[in-house]
């Protein structure tokens, strides 16, 4: 399964025409302790770069944008009870939602793991 990354620090794991979306380890470290995640409703149509979810730390709320167009088919209900999962396991158990892709060609605009790693290192210079 291919994993892709956006410049907004989201990851996507693609399985057929469905992508699981979450925020990267770099993003959760920058945000600090996550205390609340607001997830999109199932069936909601998301537009690339539009609002998809909200993640809140003690100090601030941050928007999570949709990395691709598509329809939400599942949301991670575990995050309601345990938002800290995003800190503990950002790129596995702390996933946010699953989206059914409307245009698989949009995946080509995203980075692979090596490119994302280089992108993050560039930000830290």
């Amino acid at each position: 399964m291919a994993k892709k990354f956006s410049k907004e620090h989201e990851w996507l794991e693609i399985d057929g025409d469905v992508a699981t979306v979450g925020i990267t380890d770099h993003a959760q470290q920058a945000l600090g302790d996550i205390v609340y995640v607001e997830l999109p409703e199932i069936g909601k149509k998301l537009a690339k770069d539009g609002d998809a979810a909200v993640v809140e730390s003690v100090k601030a709320a941050s928007d999570v944008y949709a990395p691709v167009d598509g329809e939400v088919v599942e949301a991670n209900e575990e995050l309601d009870a345990n938002p800290a999962l995003v800190n503990e396991s950002p790129e596995n158990d702390g996933w946010f939602f699953k989206i059914k892709l409307s245009d698989a060609s949009q995946l080509d605009d995203l980075m692979d793991e090596a490119a994302y790693k280089a992108f993050v290192e560039g930000l830290e210079d």
């Binding site: 600090g32 302790d33 205390v35 609340y36 730390s57 003690v58 100090k59």
Partner: protein
């Protein structure tokens, strides 16, 4: 993120220590200040409530007023009874203006031969201009620009500090002493901004790093940043100037009636007294209250507060998550008829009305040492 070093920011005497400890430095009121250390906001918050936290608050202004008429002159600018303040005692107060609203909140200490004031970083230049323009009759104002200020807060603060200065153990909440800590001459008040027992310590810049390292070397003490300082004070129901009180709010609206002492209510004689005393007698149209969201979503500052019919009745001025109460918490202003604890309201968060309740402050009980 902007590099806080690149913006001509002022540095406190503890700047190098913050960087060495791995703090995330951010611009705040013209200073490069630590917003959090590697422990993180939540961990720092919980550590302060469990043991002891050390805060650098050197960005705040420290001012000394001398002159025979200093008390009467300062009383022209604040509604507190400063004449009643005994040597070695400290009081919370506010500078008011002609509109009866609040220019800044501050701590006033009777240091015997002088008054010692601690004022907010973002307001200090304006406060000093205001005092110089209004304090007459030979009152002299000196800003103590060569002193750092740190706070040691938490249930273990007294045990820790007494190892270096036994006299601090018996000090009561809101008392002051000129005390040597490990041989360093300090001004110590038993006060703070967390709701916990603790001290604020004014120390010469030249000894600040040494004192901070001494305290941090104690097992109970962790360095705490501005992030946790904000969540701690919000849980304690304490106002943040610029958010919860400012030049649009009077002390009565801000639920600070207790800072207007009896004699001042009778005599007036402070800026805006006509407006403030009228509100005391007849009530204000709105009031600062605690607000508890029912769900898990925090409601941040400027969130609209609605009544059950959907009418806007107020606004949140500070809102976030309280790590000790493990839930979202907020304070804000509502129309007076909705200010009673238990009143159900809605908060407009991201276009959706979410249920909340007006509650009594604080969210976390104060644990001051009253002897």
């Amino acid at each position: 993120m902007a590099d806080p070093n690149a913006e001509n920011l002022l540095k406190t005497a503890l700047y190098d220590l913050h960087v060495e400890l791995g703090a995330k430095m951010v611009p705040f009121a013209g200073y490069a200040m630590p917003v959090q250390y590697p422990l993180g906001v939540k961990g720092e918050h919980l550590h302060t409530r469990a043991k002891a936290g050390l805060f650098d608050v050197s960005h705040m202004g420290q001012v000394r007023l001398t002159g025979e008429h200093r008390v009467a002159e300062l009383e022209k600018l604040v509604p507190g009874d400063i004449a009643l303040l005994k040597p070695g005692r400290t009081r919370y107060s506010a500078f008011t203006n002609d509109d009866g609203t609040i220019l800044d909140d501050l701590m006033i200490t009777n240091a015997g031969d002088s008054l010692f004031l601690v004022i907010n970083a973002a307001c200090k230049d304006d406060d000093i201009v205001h005092m110089r323009a209004n304090l007459d009759n030979g009152v002299e104002l000196v800003e103590l620009t060569d002193r750092a200020l740190m706070a040691l807060q938490g249930p273990e603060a007294a045990n820790v500090l007494a190892r270096f200065a036994p006299d601090v153990a018996t000090m009561k909440f809101m008392s002051f002493g000129e005390i040597d800590i490990a041989g360093i001459p300090c001004f110590v008040t038993r006060s703070g901004y967390t709701g916990e027992d603790g001290y604020e310590i004014s120390v010469p810049d030249s000894d600040a790093d040494k004192l901070a390292r001494l305290l941090l070397a104690e097992d109970e003490v962790e360095a705490i940043g501005l992030g946790a300082r904000d969540s701690l004070r919000l849980e304690a129901g304490l106002c943040l100037y610029g958010n919860d009180i400012d030049t649009t709010t009077t002390p009565v609206e801000g639920d600070l009636n207790w800072i207007i002492n009896k004699r001042r209510r009778e005599e007036g004689g402070f800026l805006g007294a006509d407006i403030i005393l009228d509100q005391l007698a007849n009530g204000a149209d709105r009031k600062r209250v605690g607000i508890k969201p029912e769900g898990k979503a925090p409601a941040r500052e400027h969130t609209a507060v609605l009544d059950q019919e959907g009418n806007e009745i107020g606004e949140i001025t500070s809102g976030g998550f309280g790590p000790t109460v493990d839930a979202p918490i907020a304070m804000g202003y509502v129309a007076i008829e909705f200010a009673k604890p238990g009143t159900k309201v809605d908060l407009m968060v991201r276009g959706k009305a979410r249920p909340a309740e007006i509650v009594a402050l604080p969210f976390a009980p104060h644990r001051y040492f009253r002897g």
